[in-house]
Symmetry: C2
Subunit: 134 residues, 2 copies
DNA sequence: CCTTAATGATACTATTTTAGTATCATTATA
DNA sequence: TATAATGATACTAAAATAGTATCATTAAGG
């Protein structure tokens, strides 16, 4: 019952690395640099960073001297965002019965509790910003 | 990102049903009765209730007039227990790096936060007892 | 220009988890 | 001894997770 899948996990690691570099005024980081420091599989990391670029978390530059840098303020990037990108929004509820919407949804006490837990966890994850991690 | 898998979900539904029946002094419930009321797949439910019996949540009786009843006090059966049985203990942490223990474990801030969230969720799930649901 | 070093797009495979079914064995009751 | 119940177990299908490979495109710099 992992909260973060591998993709999210590696993406967060990479973002922390890029965030730290940006802090030291190193504008652009290549996949190779991240791989050397964090020991992540290169082909996979490339895919993840491409996804982060498509989702406006990173800015990418192509060609020689290309690479990645943060597109948004590190205070505005948080773990809930990254989970949303790689795993879908933080939502613990299920509320299906044999693949149909559960008829008991409206009054279900389990649902109420799970919903509230889900909300709590999401709010806490939104507090874990990149700036709080670098 | 479901918190409960289908097995846990169906098991909780069945336990609620059995708990309610036990409350009304109906000692023993058969799989067929649960299936008729909750519309769950019979073969699957049988397997789940067998697992609950092995885990000392239910008592089972075989033969004609056999069936299931709660083995423990409904105040002492909670959702965290059922998750533990079907999905393993409530634990959001991962802390692997390429399938090895992550070397950063000890100082990792993400880990600290996930651990604390995990603990919170588990404590809350332990509060959702069967008696609170029937 | 042309080489090189970077990302973009995309297709593919393997493994694990989740979801669900089927069947024979055993037991208790009437 | 027939019947109605659970016990044990083996099996299949689908989805999610984990990971790799390759060609296309772009930008810098001699």
């Amino acid at each position: 019952m992992k909260l973060l899948t591998r993709d999210t996990d590696y993406a967060v690691r990479a973002l922390i690395f890029i965030g730290k570099a940006n802090k030291r005024k190193i504008g652009i980081i290549t996949v190779d640099e991240i791989v050397r420091s964090l020991n992540l599989p290169k082909a996979l990391l490339r895919k993840l960073l491409q996804t982060l670029s498509k989702n406006k978390i990173l800015k990418s530059g192509r060609g020689k001297h290309g690479g990645f840098s943060l597109l948004k303020d590190p205070g505005k990037i948080n773990v809930s965002d990254i989970i949303s990108i790689f795993q879908g929004p933080v939502d613990f509820t299920n509320c299906l019965l044999r693949n149909e919407p559960c008829p008991n949804r409206k009054v279900c006490r389990v649902r109420k509790k799970i919903l509230s837990l889900s909300g709590y966890v999401d709010r806490e994850l939104k507090k874990i910003t990149l700036s709080s991690l670098t």
